[in-house]
């Protein structure tokens, strides 16, 4: 280094070169600053979750949820076990609220339509415009979905104050039931059903486990009624033309023609009256029926109906429905007939309660029709839409879009752009329910509060509608005693407590009550509403004749709400789009259900695209051959075929499905004005095209493997003695797990000569560790699929999109298998559909472990079959060797395709997996470790029930029990100690799984199959 190139020169060059290289490497325009919590917010400890109790806002059921937040972001939604209605359960739509919250499609700013396109405006301008139009723009119409009692009340007052009109609109309308209850019992409230108290249950097509009224509540009740307990279980008969998920849970199916509900219900009631029951004012009506003609009308055997009457006569029967399956031109008659049957069968007052006080928000298609006519006539100057998308969810034949278009100023509050916001003049970004205040009143004496669980996402400049309207009101000079809806809610709460607190036992400091309410999320108090039990004399002449269907096709079109999307409002969420439909197991696209006989007649197989044409329009959709629909029916779910909605979700799919509402004439039931969903005949013709269905179904036939066996009720109690003696029986299985704890961790310096590590061979276990295990009661599982979505939310499981899912690459760690045993639409009889939630079985003797060349699959000391993602090379040998096929592989970097802010939902406690590694169910190991750490800090053992998995935390039927099976007092050890216990494939391949299933119990004899 003389005088040529000195040390300083060298450093200069390196410095400049290095800096420019670094500068070239960073191409972001904005400078991101990472600022630590120097003074952290009081409730937030980095790394520690904060939970908020609130009320789910995804439908009107008002289920209680607990939202887990980390560092100020909601990451998980679970059921709130303290909630009086949902009792810790939840549905997939509820869990997917997170994807509504973090949806990249959310409207980011107020927008105003100018010459056919939208321009962003500031909130100030928007509020000014809104106040101006509401003040001077003419009569206003408020068109909203059902809201909570306080918000609904506020909206009614607001509309009144402005001289406008409020219409409650819900596509999943229950006005026919409401009207029938009014006619039968003179009440302005929906009947409340206590399914759990019944011994015998009949559903006239109501899918109460999926969408009808309060599915989560009903699922819990159904599980306690239908799940076997002490050798007894309630029987469930499903009557209807299509087996929904609810139908698949039935013990018998009477495949009645659509529209025959009233005849069947009245005939059974008539039979009961002939056997001595009392039908009060309806005696004459029901006596005039006979089973033969009803069976004829329904297209089923009369014996099936007389057996139904026998069961009702045996006592404590309850009839539900017909729900939306009975929404045809005779909807009120059908509902009324079922209520009469209940009254005759003695269910009223025992398992059905009718409140004399009105229950609040009642949706009505009749009001909607009236509003459409008024809008068409130019009666309104302003229309405000919120929480509803009628342009999509009403049949085009209803004329809504045209009439709405004629209103001079249309305002839409929405979280994401949809068909209705697309034709609005002013679009205002509404806050998501997880960001807003509100409440719900799921039943009298059961009040549930909604609170924001996080600050509104800054990317979306949203405000809750009620806050906006309060602000507008103050600009217009109306005083509601509050500036924000939070204040309004608190004031309403305070004044309600002041008026009723003493009476219902909630006296005391209202502030303390409020804090307690926010902590628990809900409050139960004495139900003071008077009850009605006697049938009223019929005021109106309701005709019970079978409805006639329009059109000249040969199949009746049954349009039903999707268990995943409801009326289509949830179709923008990848979790739900990729959740296999509980019935068809199809993801991402629509399908039409056709009976195998019909399909054969038309020369169709699953996947053949058919053209369904009615008098109103036609759609092209792939057929799915399903033995669970009648031969004369074609069924299509609502929720697909959006034209504006869910842009982000659709980037993962090739098509969006079809909207069956476009096929419907806008017929309504004359009595209740309920929209008729079953109202037209259609012709189905093959187009000659075929598409591969995006389905998880490999086979619906168990093919003698008996992976989902069942037991006849009559066999219960007999197997127990044999099993106790047999070491291979359930007792021996439990011992096997209890005696083993897991592999002993051996201290090693990793020298080759240390291997194989002592204890790493099968059969050598430590004994001071827990052995985590699970029990799943298949007699309770309804197959709703919420466990799948909850698992996805908890464990950062990505969705893969339509094309990838079509190739069998969906990433779910938990899937619901569905096997048909007995499904026959040609006559009434026993029904047997087997459901099997399949997840990693955490085998003692796991076939995946020895084959992994790099120890990425290994066994933990507490019995978990673990996967070290970082160590995985991606040979996929473990997946090949897994007999349960529960291992899923990251074929691409799916997680890196998830855009902001959807990725804010990622659970920080769980690794986000990348391209090329295998993953699978971990038994929510993060929760096990969290509980273990807490127990260690407090110097105690982990308590039973302290660790619960994500799937367990939402199961409405409480079918999943998790815990340490080596603790003899644990719930899981108790659950496994049952003669119904079996382990899938264990006796064939000796995997010794830790997941125990409790066999489904059937009323009919089943072949239990040999192992």
């Amino acid at each position: 280094m003389s005088d040529g190139f000195g040390r300083r020169d060298f450093l200069k060059v390196v410095g400049v070169g290095g800096t420019s290289a670094a500068a070239a490497g960073c191409s972001t325009d904005t400078v991101e600053r990472l600022i630590p919590y120097v003074t952290p917010p009081e409730e937030i400890t980095p790394g520690v979750a904060t939970w908020y109790a609130t009320t789910c806002g995804e439908c009107g059921s008002g289920c209680g949820v607990r939202v887990r937040t980390r560092e100020g972001r909601a990451v998980m939604i679970e059921g709130n076990p303290d909630h009086p209605v949902s009792k810790g359960g939840l549905c997939s739509r509820g869990v997917s609220a997170l994807q509504g919250l973090y949806n990249p499609d959310r409207i980011a700013t107020p927008m105003r339509a100018v010459n056919g396109s939208f321009e962003p405006v500031s909130w100030d301008e928007a509020l000014e415009l809104l106040a101006d139009r509401l003040g001077t723009g003419g009569r206003s119409l408020f068109l909203t979905g059902p809201k909570g009692p306080t918000e609904g009340n506020f909206l009614n007052r607001f509309a009144d104050r402005l001289g406008g009109r409020r219409v409650v609109y819900d596509a999943l309308d229950d006005s026919a039931l409401r009207r029938a209850a009014k006619i039968a019992f003179g009440v302005d409230a929906l009947p409340r059903y206590q399914i759990g108290e019944a011994d015998f249950l009949v559903s006239f097509g109501a899918d109460f486990l999926e969408t009808w009224l309060s599915p989560v509540h009903f699922a819990a009740e159904f599980a306690s009624m239908h799940g076997v307990r002490d050798g007894h279980k309630g029987r469930f008969v499903f009557i209807g033309s299509r087996l929904s998920l609810t139908g698949q849970n039935a013990d018998e199916w009477i495949p009645a023609r659509p529209g025959s509900e009233a005849q069947v219900a009245l005939a059974v009631a008539g039979e009961l009256v002939r056997r001595g029951a009392d039908a009060g004012p309806y005696t004459a009506l029901v006596s005039n029926t006979d089973l033969e003609s009803a069976a004829e009308a329904a297209g089923v055997e009369a014996e099936a109906l007389s057996a139904l009457a026998d069961r009702f006569a045996a006592g404590n029967g309850l009839a539900l429905g017909p729900g939306l399956a009975g929404h045809h031109a005779g909807a009120t008659a059908a509902n009324l007939a079922v209520l009469i049957l209940n009254a005759v069968a003695g269910a009223v007052g025992r398992t059905i309660h009718l409140d004399a006080t009105p229950d609040g928000e009642a949706s009505s298609y009749g009001d909607m029709v009236q509003a459409v006519a008024e809008m068409d006539a130019g009666a309104y100057g302003v229309a405000v839409v919120s929480g509803a998308n009628p342009v999509y969810s009403l049949p085009p034949a209803s004329g809504f879009a045209d009439a709405f278009g004629k209103v001079p100023f249309k305002v839409a509050f929405a979280t994401a752009p949809d068909e209705t916001t697309a034709i609005a003049d002013l679009v205002l970004p509404d806050a998501h329910p997880l960001e807003s205040w509100g409440d719900a009143m799921p039943a009298p004496g059961k009040y549930s509060v909604r609170q924001p669980v996080m600050r509104p996402i800054h990317l979306f400049d949203s405000r809750p509608m009620s806050d906006v309207l309060l602000e507008t009101a103050s600009r217009l000079g109306h005083d509601f005693g509050a500036v924000t809806f939070h204040e309004y809610l608190r004031a309403a709460n305070r004044s309600w407590l002041a008026a009723n607190g003493e009476a219902v036992g909630l006296a005391g400091d209202p502030n303390a009550r409020w804090r307690e309410l926010l902590r628990t999320g809900s409050v139960s108090y004495a139900d003071t509403s008077p009850k009605v039990e006697a049938l009223q004399p019929p005021e109106t002449a309701v005709g019970f004749a079978a409805p006639s269907f329009q059109g000249d096709g040969d199949l009746t079109l049954v349009v039903y709400p999707s268990p995943r999307f409801g009326d289509g409002a949830h179709a923008n969420r990848p979790w739900l789009l990729e959740l296999p439909d509980p019935v068809s197991k199809i993801m991402w696209h629509s399908w039409a259900e056709l009976n195998p006989t019909t399909a054969e007649r038309l020369g169709l197989r699953s996947g053949d695209v058919v053209r369904i044409a009615s008098g109103e329009g036609e759609v092209e959709v792939p057929a799915w051959v399903y033995p669970g629909v009648r031969e004369d029916v074609v069924a299509v779910a609502m929720g697909g075929g959006h034209t504006v909605y869910a842009e982000f979700a659709r980037t993962f799919a090739d098509g969006g499905g079809v909207n069956p509402m476009t096929l419907l004439p806008a017929d309504a039931d004359a009595e209740s004005a309920a929209l008729a969903l079953v109202s037209t005949r259609v012709s189905v013709t093959p187009t000659g095209e075929w598409r591969r269905l995006v389905s998880t179904e490999g086979s619906h036939d168990q093919d003698d493997r008996n992976v989902a066996p069942a037991m006849a009720l009559s066999a219960l109690g007999h197997a127990a003695d044999a099993a106790a003696e047999d070491e291979h029986g359930h007792d021996g299985q439990r011992r096997e797990l209890q005696e083993g704890g897991g592999f002993v961790p051996v201290p090693t310096e990793g020298r080759a000569e240390d291997f194989p590590l002592p204890g790493s061979d099968f059969g050598e276990y430590a004994d001071d560790h827990p052995r985590w295990a699970m029990a799943i009661d298949l007699d309770k599982c309804t197959g709703c699929g919420v466990c799948v979505t909850a698992c996805q939310a908890e464990n950062n499981v990505p969705w893969v999109g339509e094309r990838e899912a079509m190739n069998g690459r969906e990433m779910h760690w938990l899937r619901l298998e569905r096997y048909y045993e007995t499904v026959d639409a040609s006559h009434a009889g026993p029904l047997d559909v087997r459901l099997l939630p399949m997840l990693c079985q955490h085998c003692n003797n796991a076939p995946c472990e020895p084959v992994c060349p790099v120890f990425a699959a290994y066994h933990t000391p507490d019995g978990l079959n673990a996967q070290a993602y970082n160590r995985c090379v991606g040979t996929r040998y473990c997946a090949n060797n897994c007999p349960y096929k529960v291992r899923v592989f990251n074929w691409y970097g799916y997680t890196s395709d998830i855009p902001e802010p959807m990725n804010w939902q990622f659970n920080p406690d769980v690794t986000v997996r990348d391209n090329g590694v295998m993953e699978k169910c971990t038994f929510c190991v993060q929760r096990i470790r969290d509980a273990g750490n807490r127990a260690a800090v407090e110097d105690r053992e982990v308590r039973d029930g302290e660790v619960y998995t994500a799937c367990q935390s939402v199961c409405p039927a409480d079918a999943i029990v998790f815990g340490n099976i080596r603790d003899a007092g644990s719930r899981v050890a108790a659950a496994v100690d049952d003669e119904r216990t079996y382990r899938v494939l264990d006796e064939l391949i000796n995997t010794q799984p830790a997941v125990h299933y409790l066999k489904k119990v059937t009323f009919h004899e089943v072949d239990e199959g040999g192992h």
Partner: protein, 464 residues
């Protein structure tokens, strides 16, 4: 005594020729051999260049496809759940199988003194080495994170992490690398005297090249002595490997509990299948090589007939294994096992299964006829059938079994993607690329061993 016995047993030249131990009578002298074999190494014709160009293009396709897969993710293949292994592993096993005949012919037949091997073993050995080079890439192509594939190799590291010695994939790493090393060394060792012969005829750069790689071979007695010892030693070392490699590869399947994989017959069945396919591939390569390079005098009908017999034996074993599998699936009475084989025969991939049975089971039965065995063109066609059939055999075993395992709900189908097809075709090009280079750079027939069987060049008695 020994001399007497030898004399008694020494067959006539005609009898030796009939056994394939001698080239055609046209070949008389050492210089004939040198001339005939080494002319192959002279300036290549347009045909060679066209083939070489195609192969080079295929190698380009191979690596382009592979790099695309590494860049995008293994998802560009058609693999899915439940079929996590597909064309890649099929092709891996196919190439490992191809690699068997070379060592079999050169080592085992050497030890057993089968006379017909001399003219064919060089090409067969080259094929072995290149087939293992091709096969060895497939596990790398197959894994999800190829950049971590070295974790399968046991090496001391600061994290004290070792591979799982219970996993057949780790055994595979050992088996294939050992086999490659031994076959490559054996191959190279055998060529040294011939390289020296090539060196003696070459000029310029080529001379330097052969000079370098022939390691200064002079052909002294001492060198020949060491050479033969080493050759026998390596042959003995390579012999068990012929049996072990494909046994270990078969354990990738047999050690798993997948119905259709989990059977005890897999090791012999796979070894027989490997030799079957390997010999077929030798025939496939030898027929055009013989024609284009004018080696008819060295690769005689006798040699082909001997290989055809080997094909017939191993093919019959393979057919027997197929039938045994079906019988045992039925006899087991286990629904998954029965279902797997029912699906194999009549399920979605029935065509692959029947292709396999036709190509491997039925077509080779024609080899029972001597006329077929002695017809070069018929053998060529049959060998192509066997090559196709043996690829499909692995496809059937891997794909149909995985697609139809225990859980009916998880059954699924797999369709190879265009990338997989690119890599499959590219692998043949990659193999062909090396083989074409081999035909131009190394003597394709063992010169020294050919000379051994010719009468030694004796000087004529003066005046006669």
């Amino acid at each position: 005594m020994a001399t007497a016995e030898l004399r008694r047993e020494a067959p006539t030249a005609a009898a030796r020729r009939e056994r394939g131990a001698l080239p055609n009578p046209d070949v008389q002298s050492y210089s004939d051999v040198n001339r005939d074999v080494l002319k192959v190494l002279s300036r290549p014709g347009p045909g060679w260049w066209i083939l070489f160009g195609l192969a080079a293009g295929g190698v380009g396709l191979f690596f382009t496809s592979w790099f695309w897969q590494i860049y995008k993710g293994i998802g560009v293949s058609g693999l899915n759940a439940p079929v996590g292994w597909g064309v890649y592993i099929t092709t891996f096993v196919f190439w490992v199988g191809i690699a068997h005949s070379g060592t079999l012919i050169s080592a085992i037949l050497f030890l057993f003194r089968a006379p017909w091997r001399q003219s064919i073993y060089r090409a067969a050995e080259a094929m072995t080495v290149f087939a293992v080079m091709t096969a060895g890439l497939f596990p790398l192509i197959h894994v999800g994170r190829v950049w971590h594939a070295y974790w399968l190799i046991p090496y001391p590291n600061s994290r004290f992490l070792w591979p799982n010695f219970r996993s057949p994939l780790v055994w595979d790493v050992f088996a294939v690398t050992t086999y490659f090393t031994v076959s490559a060394v054996f191959f190279y060792l055998g060529t040294i005297p011939d390289l020296a012969a090539a060196r003696d005829q070459a000029r310029g750069l080529r001379k330097k090249f052969y000079h370098f790689i022939s390691l200064g071979w002079r052909g002294t007695d001492r060198e020949w002595h060491h050479f033969s010892k080493a050759y026998i030693y390596l042959a003995a070392l390579a012999t068990p490997l012929v049996l072990s490699v494909h046994s270990v590869v078969s354990w990738d399947f047999a050690m798993a509990i997948v119905p259709g994989w989990h059977t005890t017959i897999f090791a012999p069945y796979f070894v027989a299948g490997a030799i079957f396919s390997g010999v077929a591939m030798v025939i496939t390569l030898a027929v055009p090589m013989r024609k284009f390079f004018g080696l008819e005098n060295y690769l005689t009908v006798k040699h082909f007939e001997a290989m055809a017999k080997l094909c017939l034996v191993t093919g019959t074993i393979v057919l027997y294994a197929y039938l045994t599998e079906y019988f045992l699936a039925w006899y087991s009475g286990e629904p998954p096992e029965r279902g797997s084989f029912w699906n194999r025969a009549f399920g979605h991939y029935w065509w692959a299964n029947w292709t396999m049975l036709t190509c491997n089971g039925l077509v080779p039965l024609m080899l029972w006829f001597k006329r077929v065995r002695r017809s070069i063109s018929a053998l060529f066609v049959i060998s192509i059938f066997v090559n196709i059939g043996m690829w499909f055999e692995r496809f059937v075993i891997i794909v149909t079994s995985l697609s139809h395992e225990y859980e009916p709900w998880a059954w699924g189908l797999y369709r190879p993607s265009i990338v997989e097809m690119g890599i499959l075709i590219g692998s043949f090009a990659w193999f062909g690329f090396w083989f074409l280079l081999f035909t131009r750079l190394l003597p394709p027939v063992a010169i020294a061993e050919m000379k051994e069987v010719l009468p030694p060049p004796l000087r004529r008695r003066r005046g006669s």
